[in-house]
């Protein structure tokens, strides 16, 4: 069963393809936020490198966020269109799950943390379990200070992964129990996405393209303003 994974939640955009033999080919780029330009050629490229006809793909996995809205939607719209055109089901995976999965062998608690702009981060905590990671806090938007306090209060040794930890290193570094994964795991990867999605695909844990929901975690500003005005 071949899985195509599409990931574009952060400044990076990536595509990977794989199955029971593991990841067969992948492509990632993070220069100049050219998500829409790069994504379709990357799909063609990984199929070619993996020597796979695009029609052989049986499931399309996609990173549903949280992430930077415009880039995130490019990946989701593309993945939905590919799945629809192939007539195959989809699997949605959170960007934070992908971040944690990349460092799943850590004995410490894992904090996946991506830059959400506007002085905030998207974050969730995980612990390592056989075969992957288990989420122990729901994905949420945090002020870095508040998330640092949360980690401190938890009292456990933490491995932080993602570009949120890199950007706000001076906020998290004073929390002595926090260690940082390297820049190689700054972005969720399409390789992780395929690895995570493949066993789920085998268990048929998939949905139709119309059931894929982006995980925004933030309402549009206009809606917030409108609700504030309405409640006055």
């Amino acid at each position: 069963m071949l899985v195509l994974g599409i990931e574009s939640a952060t400044a990076q955009v990536g595509v990977a393809i794989g199955g029971h033999e593991g990841v067969l080919a992948s492509a990632h780029s993070s220069r100049d936020r050219r998500h829409a330009e790069n994504l379709t050629p990357q799909i063609a490229f990984v199929c070619e490198q993996a020597r796979v006809e695009i029609s052989e793909i049986s499931v399309v996995a996609v990173d549903v966020g949280p992430g930077l809205f415009t880039g995130l939607r490019v990946g989701i719209a593309s993945a939905m269109a590919v799945a629809h055109a192939l007539g195959v089901p989809m699997i949605g995976v959170s960007s934070l799950d992908l971040g944690a999965f990349a460092v799943r062998h850590s004995p410490k608690q894992i904090a996946a943390c991506y830059d959400a702009r506007r002085g905030e981060v998207f974050a969730a905590r995980y612990r390592s379990v056989p075969g992957g990671v288990q989420r122990i806090s729901e994905p949420a938007v945090w002020q870095p200070d508040d998330f640092a306090a949360e980690l401190l209060a938890g009292g456990e040794d933490v491995l932080m992964v993602g570009d949120g930890g890199i950007r706000y290193r001076e906020v998290f570094e004073p929390v002595a129990s926090v260690d940082f994964a390297g820049p190689g795991t700054a972005h969720p990867s399409a390789r992780s996405l395929v690895e995570l999605a493949h066993p789920r695909a085998l268990r048929e844990e998939f949905v139709s393209p119309s059931e894929i929901q982006p995980l925004y975690l933030r309402k549009p500003d206009a809606e917030i303003n409108w609700q504030t005005r309405d409640n006055r």
Binding site: R73, A77, S78, M80, H84, A85, S210, A222, E223
Partner: protein, 334 residues
């Protein structure tokens, strides 16, 4: 075999897909409008629009294909609007179209939204004779274009400040008529006297460019000074001023360029007064007026497929690394 193009349009607040044969024969045209979603904000909110596009895009494409009775293998190409428009919205359509093109192994065609509007007239009248003057009036654009041939345009003039549709929205909001402003003012104007108030005709006899911000200010000042004024008279007189300027310039453009006829395009072309006046002046001058049905004036994907048919014919396919451009201009002759 007819050449079938699947067109996709997401530049603003309509999620649309259509199948058109040979650049004019509309086999299906599906438009999912977000007007109701944006109405409470009094205008289109980009982030809200993008979220709705993602949700509606695949179902709209699927419906367009089913209604047309077309299989992917029957398509000649997949065309999508690539600009101008809201960047986040445009990217949904472009990404979808490129993905479909890749999987279905069909060429991808990049379409300019303004050029697509120019083609809306050809969807319903294949006997249009060139050259034509097209008055493109919408919430985002007000331009007078001379179409000399397919893909050959001269931009005669455009608005220097507000677009005509924008003026409608702003005046409607001021008068408390809600959003969108065009249909609201059009309906109310029918009950008022268009000659009641002599609002200014900005730049009426001055070149082909337009200016509507002075008119909008004048409406606001008039209502402020005359709080008891009949709102229907204000709506009718405002509309009269807009239509007078638009039609006067379009008529002069036809005379000065030797055009065979006048086409209306864009959302404001759904305005009943503008439509009637365009028919009247064309008849008086012995020229043809072509006014697309209301559903083809507002944003739709059939016009994108029609323009895509001609673009594909002249330029061939676009590369799959094509992006979107929010400020794309109409390609014009120099």
């Amino acid at each position: 075999m007819p050449e079938l193009i699947l067109g996709i349009e997401t530049s603003c607040d309509e999620t649309a897909a259509a199948v058109v044969a040979d650049g004019h024969d509309v086999r299906s045209s599906v438009v999912s409008s977000q007007i109701d979603i944006h109405a409470r904000y009094g205008g289109v909110v980009p982030e809200v629009a993008s979220r709705a596009h993602v949700e509606m895009m695949v179902p709209v494409v699927a419906q367009a294909m089913v209604e047309a009775g077309v299989e992917p293998g029957d398509l000649t190409a997949v065309a999508s609007t690539v600009g101008p428009g809201l960047i986040g919205s445009l990217l949904i359509g472009v990404s979808t179209a490129k993905s479909l093109a890749l999987v279905w192994d069909r060429p991808f065609v990049a379409v300019n939204h303004l050029e697509a509007h120019l083609y809306s007239a050809f969807l319903e009248d294949q006997d249009l004779e060139l050259p034509l003057i097209t008055l493109l009036v919408s919430g985002g654009h007000t331009m007078l274009v001379l179409m000399e041939g397919h893909g050959q345009y001269r931009l005669l003039g455009q608005t220097l400040d507000d677009a005509a549709g924008e003026a409608y929205d702003k005046v409607a909001r001021y008068l408390g008529l809600g959003y969108p402003g065009g249909p609201a003012i059009d309906a109310l104007a029918a009950e008022g006297d268009p000659q009641a108030i002599a609002f200014p005709r900005g730049m009426k006899n001055d070149g082909y460019d337009f200016s509507f911000s002075g008119l909008k200010t004048s409406v606001v000042n008039h209502v402020r000074k005359n709080p008891d004024v009949d709102t229907a008279d204000v709506a009718a007189s405002f509309q009269e001023a807009v239509v007078d300027v638009l039609i006067t310039k379009a008529r002069r453009a036809m005379a000065e360029t030797g055009a065979r006829g006048l086409c209306l395009a864009g959302g404001v072309a759904a305005n009943s007064s503008l439509r009637q006046r365009a028919l009247d002046v064309a008849a008086e001058d012995g020229l043809k007026a072509f006014i697309p049905s209301r559903s083809m004036c507002t944003d739709n994907a059939a016009m994108v497929a029609a323009a895509g048919f001609h673009r594909f014919g002249s330029d061939g396919p676009a590369a799959l690394d094509h992006g979107a451009n929010s400020s794309l201009r109409l390609p014009t002759l120099t």
